[in-house]
């Protein structure tokens, strides 16, 4: 595939700076994509190398470097990600290098009185056979042409200052909202922000120490026919024990006549788990999640991750991530457990993320999974 897809930014580790509530910096109360004006200021102040001395937001941190002043209550953004992938050799097979644009999206949101509206629009190309990015496809391009994506679009109503009701295509509220969409917790629970969004009705409350995000899932209406659409719910409840320590629980339950990915009929899929976000110091943060998995045609499994993020200098992040996956043994006679299916499979990421200037992230990852070759990833991320 010359282009899969990536995600915009949601940095759950910001809790180490006391930003426990995602809605402080993002227009989505549970984080991701469009930044608020406050979020742009904080990205310059707390995210970018050298930004700690700034007291006022410079124009270069604003949308399009400040070339366009967004109207009041309107926030715009965009992301371009380019990925270089390296797969190590195995006996008889040489190492492989690939490079492709991973994301080209624009997104934004606006508020009119008590109403909120938001959407993202992007393009991708050459994704035939890719079951991931296609889920956000708008046009029907069957082959290797280009497709137009909308990962999210919604209208909302602020019922109270801290309670937002939305309807549309939304990120599923489950687990820690992280940018690594290929991490097993996000892939196996199908809750990444790459293209796992679903249409439905969402209610988000962020008051006091609580963040409650729930969603009635009505199905992905960019997937046809209807028998493949999942219906059910997803929810996360997070409680702030102190300004830099949050714990939570997540739950998801869906049913589809036919599972779009596995073709299991009358498929019931559920996950339940716990999550942790901890700012141990202003240089160190820890994120973690552990989920029980059950999907149609398999016995119960589990998945989880722990990520430590050490920031020796502002804007430079050294990350170590461990993950585990057991999708559950196939419910078929004669099938024996193997790592990842009936037995745990472990993996590790060693990552460096650098934010040298506003609007720019450079990141490299070394990904090691049991029963797989080493994969190296280098990513350039420009955001408007």
């Amino acid at each position: 595939m010359s282009l899969s897809s990536g995600r915009a930014h949601a940095y759950a580790w910001m809790i180490k700076h006391g930003f426990s509530k995602c809605g402080s910096c993002h227009t989505d109360p549970s984080g991701g994509e469009t930044l608020t004006a406050f979020g742009r200021y904080q990205s310059e102040h707390f995210l970018t190398m050298g930004g700690a001395d700034m007291e006022e937001m410079s124009n270069s941190s604003k949308f399009l470097f400040g070339a366009i002043n967004e109207p009041a209550d309107v926030n715009l953004g965009g992301s371009y990600r380019h990925m270089v992938l390296y797969s190590a050799s195995v006996p008889g097979v040489p190492a492989e290098w690939r490079q492709f644009p991973m994301q080209l999206d624009v997104y934004g949101s606006g508020r009119i009185g008590k109403f909120e509206i938001g959407a993202s629009l992007g393009v991708a190309k050459g994704i035939q056979g890719n079951a991931q990015v296609r889920a956000a496809e708008i046009n029907k391009e069957p082959g290797e042409g280009f497709i137009v994506l909308s990962r999210s679009h919604y209208i909302g109503l602020w019922l109270q200052e801290n309670t937002l009701l939305r309807v549309g295509r939304l990120n599923l509220p489950f687990g820690v909202r992280i940018p690594e969409h290929t991490l097993w917790v996000r892939e196996s629970t199908r809750t990444d922000r790459e293209s796992d969004q679903q249409h439905g009705l969402s209610l988000t409350y962020t008051g006091g120490r609580w963040r409650v995000d729930s969603m009635l899932i009505l199905g992905n209406f960019q997937l046809n026919p209807d028998r493949y659409r999942e219906r059910g719910y997803a929810a996360t409840i997070e409680y702030l024990l102190n300004p830099t320590l949050a714990v939570g629980v997540s739950s998801l339950l869906t049913h589809s006549q036919v599972d779009a990915l596995t073709r299991v009929e009358n498929s019931i899929r559920y996950s339940d788990g716990v999550l942790l976000r901890w700012g141990a110091s202003d240089k160190l943060s820890v994120l973690g999640e552990l989920d029980l998995l059950k999907e149609g045609g398999r016995h119960t499994g589990l998945t989880g991750f722990v990520q430590t993020d050490y920031e020796p200098w502002r804007g430079l992040h050294l990350m170590l991530t461990g993950e585990v996956l057991d999708q559950g043994l196939l419910e078929k006679p004669g099938v024996l457990p193997v790592r990842g299916s009936g037995a745990p499979r472990y993996g590790a990421w060693v990552s460096i993320a650098w934010y040298p200037v506003e609007h720019l992230e450079l990141r490299v990852d070394g990904v090691m999974h049991q029963d797989d070759v080493f994969h190296g990833q280098a990513q350039l991320h420009l955001y408007l």
């Binding site: 470097f65 371009y80 380019h82 008889g92 393009v123 997937l223 990915l261 073709r263 193997v338 420009l382």
Partner: protein
């Protein structure tokens, strides 16, 4: 100012590289087709010949056909030659899913040696929405994306320099 210009230059170079993006890398469905002399395309549903999910992945290669291929030397992913060799070693009458149709015959008919025929599977995109025909999209996609990407880069460079 300098770092803003550098940033814009990096953006221009990055987006311009899109125009030179290589074609899709060979994937296993293509290897299967080449080995049995067919051209069945690469819809995501064909991942289910070997994997239990259309998203693929190392731990999901558990279908009956690939379990038999393991005994013929296909012991890991990312190895087109091992897949090719395993299919060549496959007995003409071997039937992994027990449907009385031999695996190789099913592969030659764009079928599924691991179970029921996969069909087209789910369709993606809003119902009825097709911007252009597939053929026209193939002709125009590179140039359209190039214009879009370069236009974006130009806007950023312009404003970065002005400031």
């Amino acid at each position: 100012m300098l770092r803003r210009i550098q940033l814009s230059t990096a953006l221009t170079l990055a987006i311009a590289s899109w125009l030179g993006t290589a074609a899709a890398t060979p994937e296993y469905p293509g290897v299967i087709d080449a080995t049995v002399g067919m051209s069945c395309g690469a819809p995501a549903s064909r991942c289910l010949i070997c994997h239990t999910t259309a998203r693929g992945g190392q731990g999901t290669a558990e279908q009956p056909f690939v379990r038999h291929l393991r005994t013929l030397g296909l012991t890991h992913g990312h190895d087109a030659s091992a897949l090719r060799n395993a299919i060549n070693l496959l007995d003409e009458n071997w039937d992994s899913d027990g449907d009385t149709e031999p695996d190789k015959k099913e592969l030659r008919e764009c079928g599924n040696p691991s179970g029921d025929d996969l069909g087209a599977g789910p369709e993606y995109g809003c119902d009825g929405a097709q911007l252009v025909t597939a053929a026209a999209a193939r002709r125009s996609s590179s140039s359209a994306l190039g214009v879009l990407a370069l236009g974006l880069a130009g806007v950023l460079v312009h404003f970065a320099r002005r400031r």
